[in-house]
């Protein structure tokens, strides 16, 4: 299939409720390509890679899953909780990846910052450099991830 058609198909899937009741692109009027490019620029400007950010989120997920939904503190820096549901959700990029329906909420107690992400978010960031569109309930700003885990606090998680 033509690459442009393929991207259009993915974008169409992201603007309707085919895979979830929300839209992956949220209310963002930018095209998928524009969103991907802008976030790539953000991550580059931070001197990081998508895989770096995904690694931090994965570390939180691994810590959280052992606690079966009970909120727990990591030192006096973070409060982490996993919310797990039955079933899986498919990656909208059509790579046949299915993420378990798990959401992780992390609170940085020092900076009073909260970040909520899904297991699908991690895959989307790591494999596709996709942080979802503005207005999506699962939009992740790369700068927020760095604010959350950066600044010398990363060791606590990783």
């Amino acid at each position: 299939m033509h690459k442009v058609d393929r991207i259009s198909q993915i974008e169409a899937k992201m603007r309707t409720g085919v895979l979830a009741s929300y839209q992956f692109l949220g209310t963002d009027e930018r095209s998928l390509a524009e969103i991907l490019t802008a976030d790539q620029f953000s991550v580059d400007s931070l001197g990081l890679t998508h895989q770096d950010l995904a690694k931090w989120l994965t570390a939180c997920l691994r810590l959280a899953e052992a606690n079966l939904g009970t909120p727990f503190a990591v030192g006096n820096r973070f409060l982490i909780q996993i919310d797990e549901h039955k079933g899986t959700i498919a990656c909208p990029f059509g790579d046949n990846y299915h993420a378990p329906k798990r959401n992780v909420t992390v609170t940085n107690l020092k900076h009073n910052l909260t970040l909520c992400f899904s297991e699908l978010n991690i895959h989307l960031i790591e494999e596709h450099g996709f942080y979802e569109g503005e207005g999506s309930p699962y939009r992740i700003n790369p700068h927020t991830v760095v604010q959350m885990f950066g600044g010398g606090q990363l060791w606590v998680i990783s």
Binding site: G17, S21, L68, G69, K86
Partner: protein, 365 residues
């Protein structure tokens, strides 16, 4: 200008080729009427060639479980093509183990019928039906869990085993343009054939749970198929350990009430794990049951009660609580229902206690 012309030319070519393929499928790939043999002659059906096994079976009121409605995104509709199964498609591959692929297991939604074929499906699928029920009652059980009573049309009944599930079909709503199916365990008892109760926890932004929690009301029609599943009472143990969390209480409730109604000679302990008091429900119901029946013990446990919960019951992760009360697997069966993480953790702790894998039962949706 030349770029625009190129884009237009490519687009036209794509449309032309697509039409050509569709015409080719229709005219050249005419497979006629094919025969599907089910379970070695148990049933034989006629199906129009070119359709998928999933829809051909559904046309004959045989409903193979499928959560995605045939889009190859759930991997639930596995059936075995008995001989000469065609190679696995890329859309099927992620859902099939090597052993399954080698023994002809395929996704019914992806397998197009092109000639006569034989399939093997679980016998229970032949007894499934589609029902058009009506929502008779909606009860708030917690801040994010509701119970729905689905009344069957007059004269119809649903025969099922305690612990089994149905597949509820959503209608398009909001941004959701297509129907989907999702599995929900039956919370009511088999003796109540006039209705089924299901317990639904709201999944943030989930298609079906959002539909049920926010878009339906009492009196609405709701379609479902079933019953499905092999999570039901097994022989071989007199002591039964039930462990649940969240909406996983549903099939456990059905099992416990059914066992008590049948006056089976079983000793039962029900562990229900929650974070804080606001996640608990049906506490009075099970406490009353425990008071009335010597052979039933109810142990709710909180892993992190709120300061004002005033909780003097069991504390800790459900796995810790189970380990405090159960010390061996002798003459015991365990039935688990909850999140995949909870189920995995419980399997691990039960194995350490001495349960073998054939003493532990659970549904993996």
């Amino acid at each position: 200008m030349s770029i625009l012309i190129s884009v237009a030319a490519v687009s036209l070519l794509t449309v032309f080729l697509t039409i050509l393929i569709i015409l080719g499928e229709t005219v050249l790939a005419n497979y006629g009427v094919c025969t599907i043999d089910i379970n070695h002659g148990r049933k034989r059906l006629a199906a129009v060639g070119g359709t998928t096994l999933l829809s051909a079976l559904a046309d004959h009121e045989i409903f193979v479980p499928s959560a995605c409605g045939g889009k190859s995104t759930c991997g639930l509709c596995k059936i075995q093509v008995a001989d000469n199964a065609r190679p696995v498609l890329p859309t099927e591959a992620p859902y099939l183990t090597n052993a399954e692929a080698e023994t002809g297991v395929r996704l019914a939604c992806q397998y197009k019928i092109k000639s006569d074929l034989s399939v093997v499906i679980p016998e229970q699928f032949l007894a499934t039906r589609r029902y058009h029920g009506r929502i008779e009652r909606i009860t708030d059980l917690t801040y994010d869990i509701k119970e729905f009573r689905l009344a069957l049309p007059p004269g119809e009944s649903l025969e099922f085993k305690a612990g089994q599930y149905i597949q509820v079909e959503t209608k398009p709503y909001g941004n959701v343009k297509e129907s989907v199916f999702r599995a929900y365990s039956i919370a009511s008892q088999p003796a109540e054939q006039r209705y089924v109760d299901i317990i639904v926890r709201l999944v943030p932004n989930g298609i079906c749970t959002t539909y049920l929690h926010k878009y339906v009301t009492v009196g609405d029609e709701i379609s479902f198929t079933g019953p499905y599943g092999d999570f039901y009472l097994r022989d071989g143990a007199d002591q039964l350990i039930f462990i649940a969390g969240g909406s996983g209480l549903a099939p456990i409730k059905s099992l416990i009430f059914d066992i008590l109604a049948q006056q089976l000679d079983k000793n039962m302990i029900f562990f229900f794990g929650a974070v804080s008091k606001r996640d608990l429900y049906y506490v009075e119901l099970f406490n009353d049951l425990a008071e009335k029946h010597e052979n039933f013990t109810y142990i709710p446990a909180l892993s992190k009660p709120e300061p004002d919960d005033d909780w003097d019951g069991e504390l800790g992760l459900i796995t810790e609580v189970v380990a405090r009360h159960i010390h061996d697997g002798e003459n015991k069966h365990a039935y688990l229902c909850g999140s995949p993480g909870m189920i995995n953790a419980c399997i691990e702790i039960l194995s350490q206690i001495g349960f073998s894998s054939d003493q532990i039962f659970y549904d993996k949706f």
